[in-house]
Amino acid sequence: MTTTDVPPEVDAATPPLQRRGLSPLMREHLRIYAPLVLIVVALGVVTTVYNPAFLSGANIGRLLAANAVLGVLVVGQTLLLVGGQLDLSVGSLVSVGGVVTASFVLHGLPTVVVVAVCLVAGAVIGLCWGLIVAYLKVPPFILTLGGLAVFASLALTLAASTPIPMPAGMTWVRAEVLGVRVAVIVWALVIVLGALLLHFTRFGRNVYAVGANEEAAFLAGVPTARVKMALYSINGLLAGLAGVMFAGRVGAGDPRGGVGLELTVVAAAVLGGASLAGGRGSIVGGVLGVLVVAMVTDSLSFLDVPDTYNQLVLGVILIGAVAVTATSEIRRIRAARRTG
């Protein structure tokens, strides 16, 4: 990024159209990130004081690996939310993905094939959601809620309601490269690719446009239907990947493994600044949201707080974050009106 060249012949009366320093959008992002980072650090410090084992390399690696599935899902969900979309079926897709992975492994199919099948199947299911949302104009919430139920049932049926163990399958997920678990490396790759797509391509701008004002985007020539289909396909693909990773982590295909994941994912994305109304959010924010969720869950157990309190603490944090965002939003709009 080079420094900006000053346009010629700007007389004093014309505003320069740009002030120095960070862009207002970047400042807004930082305002959202700061409290999340603060929560993560504070929880880390408190828990470490109480139990020094918390801040060990092994524990951090375990923490990240345990949340890689959630982390992969949050990238897809953030993309969707920014585009004004939503996919609640991911929880069940993870379950189905896990069951399919385990049963294919037991049938002796090679790893590459199993992974490919799961990714492609996920993407195809996502594409179907996209087609239905884009062309039949079914509200995403209802559609994917239906999908959630359908695939939950499918997972139970396929696995005959019991987890399918595969102790020797998908061990690569648990393996380590240079001391880092492969699951965490995969998660990192997904983050980087997702961030590149959303923040550094013009496709990403189209996603924001569709989320912010679909009609305006359409009239400006944005292929809104194609954008939506792409978003759902990407999310489906990531859900398939998450299914494989989940099965690999627990060493079994658990037909109930993904229950409730969809809500945790949406909560994490919203914590990270994504808005259910669309047009707002970032990949980094979503990932920070997952870290907050991970830290809360983990440090509470290190602090010997009964895990029945997990959801309570997360819920309070979510409500607080959304309330803070809403008030700062109101202030921002008022300020914009005044300067207008």
């Binding site: 159209l17 701008r205 446009a209 914009a336």
Partner: protein
């Protein structure tokens, strides 16, 4: 009688009102004029209790008061906003009596009681509406009349109307004026804010001109003219005359768009149209005449139900393909159909470019730089292109939209009511910009019902009536009378 005396108000970094005094007298229409940012909104916010003045006094019937929104309501001061507030799914009757449904002696409210009361109220202000119709089926104008009736029958003593004609067509404006005059006869003091100075002259009794937060003029409307008002608003003469803006044309070139026997449901019944590069064609016609639909079809945003559309020699299809071929569309409703209000200015001006090439890298820094250059070219007034576009005035928002299409070198521009709610200097700038584009070889289509606008930009005017082309007039001859004669003939 409501008096504001020596009222001042400042905001962080800006002084919005300085020492303004104004009286609103019962039974008179008082027009507030001034360009965007002159302080009109601040003034009405103070008069309706939304904002408190830093200094100065508000007197109601000679008594000094401190107004809050609740006090203002109790004193029967009502504001009709640009964004209308009606319950869409309810009937007209329910909306008229909203919040104070009549009750019988048992304290119960029945449907026929509500309807009877609503009918009585509508009659009182001379509004004819079916009280059983759901509000969603009413036109914008009818909704406005409904709201007006509601406000008046709440025993308003002061009625503040903010740009009430922004989306009405001429017959509807006349109807609204009739109702306002009737309201005035009931002894209500009406405060009327409008960019259309001809409306001010036609309707108002008194006027006050604001400029940069100060009162720079005022008096009786009968003692002034539109030119006089413009001079007071800007301190200098801003011309909106054809001689000063149009600047002649070039020989029209190749055909940019060709429509043959185009039908669109019952809205368009067989329209033929040739649009050439290097000319500005104005399509004139009230709501329902098919003018708006024609604009949509020309830009690919709607598909004709029969007939053929050719854009630059190829059959037109979707909005996206048309946009890729350089057909710009600037809708009338900037906020709903044009802008991403909460996204930065530069993203708004880059949107067409981003849409055209999604599979390329994006850099916010470079996008902002391009936006600044584009903004300088169009005289955009904004402190930073990286701020949300919401904060800009209507005129500057429109410049952002024009910039969006200049960035992708659009060669056919379709603009629907391009200067609705825009102050006069910005209007003049936009007209000059459109003329410059036309001279540079673009094909420009302007859907307009504003005579001044038509006079300023048109090379030729196509008048629509009931879904067919009623006739065509060269821009030079497009007087108000000629257009009216053509549009009204049956």
């Amino acid at each position: 009688m409501i008096e504001l005396q020596n009222v001042s108000r400042s905001f962080p970094g800006a002084r919005a009102l300085t020492d303004v005094s104004v009286d609103f007298t019962p039974g008179r229409v008082h027009a507030l004029v001034g360009e965007n940012g002159a302080g009109k909104s601040t003034l009405i916010k103070i008069a309706s209790g939304v904002l408190q003045p830093d200094s100065g006094e508000i007197r109601v019937d000679g008594r000094p008061v401190r107004l809050t929104p609740r006090d203002a309501r109790e004193l029967h001061i009502r504001v009709l906003h640009q964004e209308r507030q009606v319950a869409l799914t309810r009937s007209v009757a329910d909306n008229v009596v909203l919040g104070e449904a009549p009750r019988n002696r048992f304290g119960l409210s029945g449907q026929w009681l509500v309807e009877r009361e609503a009918r009585r109220r509508l009659q009182r202000v001379g509004v004819e509406l079916d009280v059983r119709a759901p509000v969603a089926t009413l036109s914008v104008a009818q909704r406005q009349l409904l709201e007006l009736a509601r406000a008046v029958t709440f025993d308003a003593r002061c009625l503040i109307m903010d740009e009430p004609t922004a989306s009405l067509h001429p017959d509807e404006i006349e109807q609204l004026f009739e109702v306002v005059r009737r309201v005035r006869e009931h002894g209500v003091s009406v405060v009327y804010i409008s960019h259309h100075l001809s409306e001010v002259i036609a309707l108002a009794d008194d006027y006050t001109v604001l400029r940069d937060g100060r009162r720079v003029g005022g008096g009786l409307v009968e003692d002034t003219t539109t030119d006089g008002l413009v001079a007071q608003m800007f301190g200098t003469e801003v011309s909106l005359r054809r001689e000063d803006i149009h600047g002649g044309g070039t020989e029209p070139g190749d055909v940019a768009a060709r429509l043959r026997d185009v039908h669109f449901g019952r809205r368009l019944k067989g329209v033929d149209l040739d649009l050439r590069f290097g000319e500005t064609v104005v399509i004139n016609g009230p709501v329902g005449s098919g003018a708006a639909e024609l604009g949509r079809i020309l830009s690919g945003a709607a598909r004709p139900t029969a007939g053929s559309v050719e854009l630059m020699g190829k059959p037109g299809s979707t909005r996206r393909r048309a946009a890729m071929r350089g057909v710009a569309l600037i809708p009338a409703d900037r906020k709903r159909e044009g802008l991403l209000l909460d996204r930065p200015i530069h993203e708004n001006s880059e949107l067409a470019g981003d849409a055209a090439r999604p599979m390329t890298w994006y850099s916010a820094t470079r996008a902002a730089d391009r936006s600044r250059r584009g903004g300088h070219g169009l005289g955009l007034k904004a402190s930073d292109v990286r701020l949300p576009v919401r904060g800009l005035s209507g005129g500057n928002q429109q410049k952002v939209l024009i910039d969006r299409w200049l960035r992708v070198e659009a060669r056919v521009l379709v603009l629907d009511e391009p200067t609705v709610g825009i102050d006069i200097p910005s209007k003049a700038e936009i007209y000059r910009q459109l003329r410059a584009l036309t001279r540079a070889g673009a094909a420009v289509v302007v859907l307009s019902t504003e005579y001044q606008e038509i006079r300023c930009v048109a090379d030729r005017v196509i008048v629509m009536r009931d879904g067919v082309v009623a006739g065509e007039i060269p821009g030079v001859d497009a007087t108000e009378q000629a257009l009216f004669a053509l549009g009204a003939r049956s």
